[in-house]
Each structure stands twice: as C-alpha cells, then as structure tokens.
C-alpha cells in the first residue's frame, strides 16, 4: 500500500512545522529532575510493595481460616438461644416466662427484619465515599510534605503525581491538593498555583488550608 501524497495546500501549511523546537533549559532541567524523582519513587514503591506481599497473604489466610472456623463452630455448638434471638426467630419450643412477657422486644422483629438490609447498604455506600487513609497513602503524603518543607518542590510534585496514580480518591485528597498548590507556588509556577488554588477552593470550600493560601498570596504581593 502506498501513501497518497499530501495536497499542495496542506504540504505548504505543515512543512514549516516539521522541526523540533528546543526546550528552554529551565524547563528541561525541571522535567529531568521530575523524571529522576519519579524513578527513585517507583523503585521505592516497588520495594515496599514486594516485601509485605507474602505477609499479607499469610495474614489473610489466617483470618479466613479463623472466620470459617468460628462460623462453623457457631452452627455446631448452637447453645441456648439468648432472649433477643428468641424474638427474632420465634420457635414452637416453650419459652421461659421472663422472656415471653417482655413486650417491647417482642415487637422488635418486624421492624428489624425490614430495616437491617437498608442500613447495611447505606453503611457500605458511605464507606466507599470517604476512604480511610492507608499507611502507604500516609507515608506517601508524609514524603511530599517533607519535600515541601525541604524546598524540593519538584520532587514533591512527583510524589503528588504518584499519590494521584495510586490513591486517586484516597482519604487524604485535601492534603494532597494543598501540597500541590504549595509546590507549584514554590517552583514559581504562579499561574498554575493560582489555578490549583481555585480548584481547591471550589472543591474544599471550608478547608483549613485556605487561610494558608491567602497568606501565600499576601506574601507574593
């Protein structure tokens, strides 16, 4: 198959743009620093992930076996039902008078059987919306914060990018985005910092970090 030639108009339009414009030295240096930071970060993350994998597998196995054992034991042992159990699943067996004569609990089963699944569903929904921060997430943001404190803003941005990749909707998004604003401002990328700050303000209108941004703004002036 042969490529059809470009029309003369398109050729004339595209020809001047075939060369590659060299980057500004500062941009190039920044990009290389970020690449180097990303590389060291990746290597570190790989080490952290590789080590506890077997430990996690063993722990998960133990929990599973223990859980299955407990569940099976509950069924086998049975044991005398507690007063609450008697009300939830009434049986034909004769009951102790003290339990039967307890009217508020006797009414409970009908409402409980209807409400429990809904409540469970609601709990599950909220737990996904606000993910609790994990140790790895905390560690990553701690690194970013230390980089900001040290003044290594390029590395901080690399760590922040890694956080976005691994914990997009993690429990520390607010802290991450605040660090992004500080890092951008620290690198002198004021326009981007302002943009990030505006996005932050819209996303977290009641954040305690907003006052910090205002102070940064005043300092800029």
């Amino acid at each position: 198959m042969k490529t059809p030639p470009l029309s003369p108009e398109l050729e004339a339009l595209l020809a001047p743009h075939r060369g590659i414009l060299p980057l500004a030295p500062s941009v190039e240096a920044r990009a290389l620093a970020r690449a180097a930071a990303a590389e060291s970060l990746e290597a570190g993350a790989a080490r952290v992930i590789a080590r506890p994998l077997w430990a996690f597998a063993v722990a998960a196995g133990i929990v599973l076996v223990a859980g299955a054992g407990a569940y099976a034991a509950r069924g086998w042992i049975g044991g005398p039902p507690s007063p609450r159990q008697v009300h939830v699943a009434p049986s034909s067996a004769p009951r102790a008078p003290a339990v039967v004569s307890d009217p508020p609990e006797a009414e409970a089963p009908a409402t409980m059987t209807q409400e429990t699944p809904r409540r469970r569903r609601m709990v599950r929904k909220t737990s996904t919306a606000t993910a609790a921060p994990t140790n790895a997430e905390l560690q990553l943001l701690r690194d970013a914060r230390q980089d900001v404190t040290r003044g290594d803003f390029a590395r901080a941005l690399a760590v922040i990018a890694e956080h976005v990749r691994r914990f997009r909707n993690g429990g520390l998004v607010e802290e991450r985005e605040a660090l992004r604003v500080k890092s951008l401002a620290g690198l002198g990328r004021h326009e981007e910092a302002h943009r990030a700050a505006a996005q932050f303000h819209a996303r977290f209108p009641h954040s305690v970090f907003l006052s910090t941004f205002e102070r940064m703004n005043e300092a800029d002036r």
């Binding site: 029309s7 001047p16 743009h17 414009l21 290389l32 590389e39 326009e191 943009r195 819209a202």
Partner: protein
C-alpha cells in the same frame, strides 16, 4: 546528580521531542510537564518490550499517544474540574511572530481532529514516520492507519478552511 540508566538517558536525549509530541497531540500547556513525567513512568515500565533495533521516536510517540488518551478519559470523568478551569486573561506573549501564528493556526485546526486520527496524521505528515511504523507504534492494523490518515487529512483541510474563515470574519 542524575543517575545514568538507559531509560533516563533515552528520555534525556529525547526530552525536546517528548514535549513536542505531547504538544502536537493536544496536551494543554499547563499539563505538559505532568504528562511528560507520566510518559517517563510509562516508558520505564514498557522499556523491556522496546525493540532497540527500531527507532525510538515512533515508540515514544506511541507512549505519548497513550498517555494523552488516558489523560483525556480522566478529564472527561472529572466534569466538575473541567468546568472550573480558569481562563488566562490578558494579552498573550509579546512575540507575535508569524511562524508562531502559523503554528497556532495548525494547532487549532489539529484540535478539531479526533485524537486517534490526529496521532496518525502528526506521526506521518509532520514527523515523517513511515506508515508501517505508525501502525506498530499505535498498535493498530496498517489498513486502519491508512484509513485514519486519509480521514484526518480531509478533516484537517476542512478545519483549516473553517479556521481561516473564522479568522477573516470581522
């Protein structure tokens, strides 16, 4: 001091090209540095699969294409963020050179072409990469690459006409 490893070295050599490719693929100026970093991470992961007997630039362009595509998908999901974007007010930079204007015209026209087809057009008609390599770099059949090129050229011509018309309006 930057540690010398082959991926970083290759990236360092081609850093201007990386930025150039990202720009042609329609990355926003404020995103380019972040995307370049993501490209480096992707490159590092895919490096074992890179055939060193082949030229590096088409491969880099393929990685850039994937990174930009992923970025666009993310941007589509984040509707609230996209709508929050602040317009950069004030006049543009002072260097109103003709070459820059022409570049901007081409860029505006390219923006009207869907990314998949634009990647083929930029690679072949601007980077002058042979079609076989274009197909390999973008992981598409050769026939698909040709059909995308044909369509992209038509779209570019139409877009140029349209942008030219809009520019000539008072």
């Amino acid at each position: 001091m930057i540690r010398k490893d082959p991926v970083l070295e290759a990236y360092q050599q081609e850093i201007s090209y990386v930025f150039h490719a990202l720009r042609w693929l329609g990355a926003r100026p404020q995103e380019i540095e972040d995307l370049a970093q993501e490209l480096f991470i992707a490159l590092r992961r895919s490096w074992p699969h890179f055939d060193s007997s082949r030229p590096l630039r088409p491969y880099l362009f393929g990685v850039a294409f994937r990174v930009v595509s992923m970025q666009r998908r993310k941007r589509k999901r984040e509707v609230t963020f996209a709508s929050l974007e602040i317009r950069e007010g004030g006049p543009g930079p002072d260097d109103a050179l003709q070459a820059k204007q022409a570049r901007a015209t081409v860029m505006r026209a390219l923006e009207r072409i869907p990314l998949r087809r634009r990647a083929v057009l930029v690679m072949h008609d601007l980077e002058e990469v042979p079609m076989k390599q274009v197909a390999v770099a973008l992981s598409i059949p050769l026939f698909t690459a040709y059909s995308r090129l044909r369509k992209a050229r038509k779209e570019l011509e139409a877009a140029i006409r349209r942008t030219g018309g809009e520019a000539s309006k008072p």
